[in-house]
Amino acid sequence: MAGILQRWGVWIAAAAVILVMPVFVTSGFYITMLNQMGVLIIFALAYNMLLGQGGMLSFGHAVYFGLAGYTVAHYLNGIGEETLPYLPVSLIPIMGGAVGLFFGVLIGFVSTRRAGTTFAMISLGFAEMVTALTLVVVTFFNGEEGIQTDRWVGPEPLGITFGSDVQVYYLIGAWCLIATAAMYALTRTPFGRMCNAVRDNPERVQFIGYSTHRIRWLAFSLSSFFAGLAGALHAVNVEHVGFETVGLAQSGLVLFMVWIGGAGIFMGPILGAILITLLNSNLSDFTDAWYLYLGLLFMTVVMFARNGLAGLIVMHEPIWKIKIGLFQKMIVPYALGIGSTLLAVAGAIGIIELAYFMSTRTTAETITHLYWVEIDAAGPVPWIASAAALAAGFAACTRTYPIMAASYNGAIAEVKALVAS
């Protein structure tokens, strides 16, 4: 029993959380957001098969996501008009996966001969081409209007119509779990291990009998399969597929998710997809500068946290596994470091918000709210206060980060000593 829990605990917990979530979340908006989250988790994990597992930076993976979405939308419409054979909506994602796989095999063959910058540029070229084609091949893409569809089609087994969002939620939840498990399993297979080997050292891989092209191609194809699966679920969820689903923005978004979450860690993309979707859905109601914050967050992670936010968590794993009590000594240094970071961030947000307010305001009004305080953005006080917070926070960071690092290193050293003894 304990063994089963040890082994399957995470998956059981995940299934349980997915199962009970709609009990707490009743609002349609948040259900839609969760649905989107599920779709993007699959897409982010698929993307990470390329970036994190295989070392291929793509600027155009949304192509496979979107093409599958378009196909599925057409198919659902075909079912609705009874011109195409019936396929249960719950199995539609497999069809999307097949479409993704098809294009992945095709385009992957030519684009995966090389990794690195060549691969990135080819992916960009294909993305631009497909985006342009959405306006040329109108019959399939229907231009900027995209394809509308209706997921409530065909027979209704057990009364499941997918009319309600909660039913779609469970569909996406189930597929999300299956796809995540499948992609996790893939990393443990000989192929998965060779993917990492190709990422780390493509030259050496050739000398142990493997063709780097074949491995990348296979990784690309499988990744496109899961991207297609996600795209199909997206079409079922939103009931519309438009040109933005194949475009650079969508590819960039998934790249942001994966890298911010942590490309080097399996859980990273999941964390990234959850976080970015949450912020994307909620933060844009509060601030105009949301994209700026997203970009700055991404750049910060690129510069300072190679393994993303998940990496920051995982680096503490040895401590809680070996002796969780060590955290006690770290509380004060961490509080100092995080506190000074928050101060600096608060100052920066203040300045950005003020600047955005001043540049986008449409009236002569200069009174606004910053941190729930009414201020006059034209006056110097809020600017000076924000700049002071930023400067003080920054100065504090330069002092407190070494303390934080020292306490971390101390704890890790202690853990090592414990392990050795």
């Binding site: 443990r188 780390d200 030259e203 499988l222």
Partner: protein, 250 residues
């Protein structure tokens, strides 16, 4: 019985207008340790790169156990049973030592690109890896990320990966480069220990190592083999003395 493991027939290689390898003929017998020596820039590494398929030949041919492998892709040559190590350490730095070795082993054991079975569940892989860990003295470092190993352990891992491939012809490119005296001794012992029934071709600068290990030696100077033979013959060869060894050999 002495058959030829690897044979080079009038191999030429040009880079642009420069001729690096100028007609090399070489036959290396099976289950022997063969060293290639020569001054810097003589083309030793290039020769290795030609044999393992990193660069295509300009002219000539290379045969592995009687089968032509000239200008084939590196992975095809590796599958045919020829493995190599590198002069500059060339391992999978982010993976554990165990994983490095397992990756080296998978093609040979028929796992190829399979994505429908778990690598960790394959007992034959695990057992063989453990054996190689034992053989190369890396057992205690089994789960350490390869990038964090000490230099000499990384060199040992280089050799372990080549061993894992199950190839019976192994090319070692300066296996003791940059090692201390005692590390070199260890490395020599290791090479000797793993050389059972395998053909080893070694490029090496350390003459002590060469004369200690090699059954036969070839001297490469400016892209040509000027002498080939047993260590004593080479030591006594005046051409070699003149061109290369000078006062070193005594």
């Amino acid at each position: 019985m002495s058959t030829t493991a690897i044979e080079l027939r009038s191999v030429h290689k040009n880079f642009g207008a420069t001729e690096i390898i100028r007609g090399v003929d070489l036959a290396i017998e099976q289950a022997k340790i063969h060293a290639i020596i020569g001054p810097n820039g003589a083309g030793k590494s290039t020769l290795f790169n030609l044999m393992t398929g990193l660069h295509p030949l300009t002219a000539g041919s290379i045969h592995l156990k009687g089968r032509e492998i000239s200008s084939q892709a590196p992975y095809d040559i590796a599958r045919a049973g020829l493995a190599r190590s590198f002069q500059v350490t060339n391992i999978f730095a982010n993976m554990s030592v165990f994983e490095n070795i397992r990756c080296g082993m998978m093609w040979d054991r028929g796992y190829k690109y399979s994505f429908w079975r778990f690598a960790g569940r394959q007992r034959d892989l695990t057992e063989n890896c453990e054996a190689i860990l034992q053989q190369t003295g890396l057992t205690s470092r089994r789960n350490v990320p390869a990038g964090l190993l000490s230099y000499s352990d990384q060199r040992a891992l280089e050799i372990a990966i080549t061993l894992a491939s199950g190839a019976d012809v192994i090319l070692l490119d300066e296996p003791t480069a940059g090692m201390s005296r005692s590390e070199t001794t260890q490395a020599v012992d290791l090479i000797r220990a793993v050389s059972d029934n395998k053909t080893l071709v070694i490029v090496e600068h350390d003459m002590g190592v060469v004369f200690d290990l090699a059954d036969t030696i070839s001297v490469l100077v400016y892209g040509e083999i000027i002498a080939s033979g047993a260590p004593e013959e080479i030591r006594g060869d005046p051409k070699v003395r003149e061109a290369y060894l000078g006062a070193e050999v005594d």
